[in-house]
Amino acid sequence: MRLLGVFAWSVVEDAMHRKVFYIILALTVLMIFLIPLLPSAQVGVQLDLMREAALGLTTIMAFVLAIIMGGTSIARDAEQRTIYNIISKPVQRWQYYLGKFLGIMLVLVITLALIFIVIGVFVLAKFRVFDPGLAKALFTIFLEASILTSLTMMASVYLSPLVCVFVGILFYVVAHVKGGYLYDAMNNGNPIARIGAGFLYYILPNLERFNINETIAHGESVFRVGLLDLILLTLMAAAFTGIFLYLGIFLFSRRDL
């Protein structure tokens, strides 16, 4: 446990020393502040639009952070050969790998907590509404980001960071459309397409389930995201993250450095 903490904290410290982290965070906050200036924000339900756009931006930010950090954290250590100084110490490879993952999760938690404060204060100041429901959406964004991070980390054991980013984007897109396009493709079209679509449909998580932004943006007036929903989503995220982490550690323990 102690070593996991050491590795996790080193990832947080590393992120705090990287300009790209601050650029992504600053851009997100800036764009949240600019939402009220959108032409469409001048009419209709401004609060709903504000919340939906802010959560959409946060989703993109978490997605970018998860893919970049997951895809580069270990690959960069290997490329720069700093990994020699670490793995030659009395540590197990799984401790290093899991510690890195936990560190990325910690960075995401810190970032999403900051965003929660920014959106919460902004909404409170502008609309005089305190909206704790935003935390639910940020939590599911975090869950989705954990799956993406574990996948890109697994890919980074053997692939270059650029390819990992591509894999992450592809996974994100396919896992989001699987409920619609993949389901349709699985039941229609030629046999080969049906088999391919069916394979992806059953093997990939349906990431669209984690997207509760719209529900939260509309104040849960139509659907309500209950505790049971959040528990089920957490279990689903834990299952896929666990599988990707297990495979990643398995591959990493066999990799020559």
Binding site: R2, L3, T82, Y84, N85, K89, P90, D256, L257
Partner: protein
């Protein structure tokens, strides 16, 4: 003497490209480092030195063979706790300061916070970086980073130190400084394995060497024994003996232009001495000829390449 490291029939092959055939980086290597010994691991580029060190540290997974560390088979965290490692051209997160970097590595060894600070101060003083303790590493020269590499290798007071090109990037004074550190460690009983291309450095520091070529051990043993093992002697004369040349035994050859030193094989020694005395020349001395490590290394590696190794 107990072996700190024993390698038996180690094999490791790599594929250099997707379609290229596998190449043997290590091909049945045997090696032993005894407790308290400083052993130099030598070999031409691509001989398998770094792969050997990586195998010992668990950075690569050998195809076959056995590695014993501190009498136990295999590489585990317990054994690595007693090992300090300096990789070739060590790289660090450059935003860190020496103090923070050493603290991080100290934590990986499970050092107690109370003891880490004192150890860090001692190590920074040892490698001459006390004044730079709180500067970020991105301001460091290559030589200073190398010193940091040595400091981090010593953070846990290792019983066994593995150094890959320890003097890389160091200026002459830096090399002397590091040599002094290694001498002190030897006095303290630390076992050291050094991989280096600096043959003069190896000759100065090491008790024993192992020469590997194409992943195989082509020579190993105590340095003094190896360098004297070529069976040659040198006769020094008080004055040049120009008229002897025609009658000298076949293995004899003059050393230098002066013709006052004669190098020859042991079997020809008595005949040569008799010839010199019979011709009225005066003998200043006879000594066993000691090759330089460079000469020995070149002979062995050439011999190995030409397939003349027995």
């Amino acid at each position: 003497m107990a072996a700190v490291l024993r390698i038996e029939n180690l094999k490791k092959s790599y594929r250099t490209g997707r379609k290229s055939p596998r190449r043997e980086a290590i091909d049945g290597l045997n090696l032993q480092v005894d407790a308290g010994q400083i052993l130099g691991l030598l070999g031409p580029n691509g001989a398998g030195k770094t792969t050997t060190l990586k195998s010992v540290l668990g950075l690569v997974n050998p195809d076959s063979g056995d590695i014993w560390l501190f009498g136990e088979q295999g590489i585990n965290a317990k054994a690595r706790k007693k090992i300090g490692f300096l990789p070739e051209q060590p790289y660090f997160e450059l935003y860190l300061t020496p103090r923070k970097l050493l603290k991080y590595f100290g934590k990986l060894f499970g050092l107690q916070p109370s003891g880490i600070e004192a150890r860090i101060s001692h190590l920074l003083s040892l490698v001459g970086l006390t004044e730079e303790a709180d500067l970020s590493l991105n301001r460091f020269s290559k030589g200073m980073l190398q010193r940091m590499g040595i400091a981090q290798a010593l953070i846990s007071e290792p019983e066994f130190l593995i150094l890959d090109e320890p003097s890389s990037g160091l200026d002459p004074l830096g090399k002397v400084h590091i040599r002094g550190i290694l001498e002190d460690l030897r006095q303290g009983g630390t076992t050291i394995l050094i991989s280096s291309h600096q043959l003069s450095e190896i000759e100065d520091i090491c008790d024993a060497v192992a020469i590997i070529d194409r992943g195989r051990n082509v020579a190993s043993g105590c340095l003094d024994e190896l360098l004297l093992s070529e069976d040659r002697y040198e006769i020094s004369l008080l004055e040049p003996a120009l008229d002897l040349s025609a009658e000298l035994p076949p293995s004899a050859k003059w050393v230098g232009e002066e013709k006052d030193r004669l190098s020859l094989r042991r079997v020809d020694l008595n005949d040569a001495l008799k010839l010199i005395i019979d011709n009225g020349a005066s003998i200043a001395g006879v000594r066993e000829e000691r090759l330089s490590l460079e000469e020995y290394f070149t002979n062995r590696v050439k011999g190995s390449s030409e397939g003349t190794e027995e």
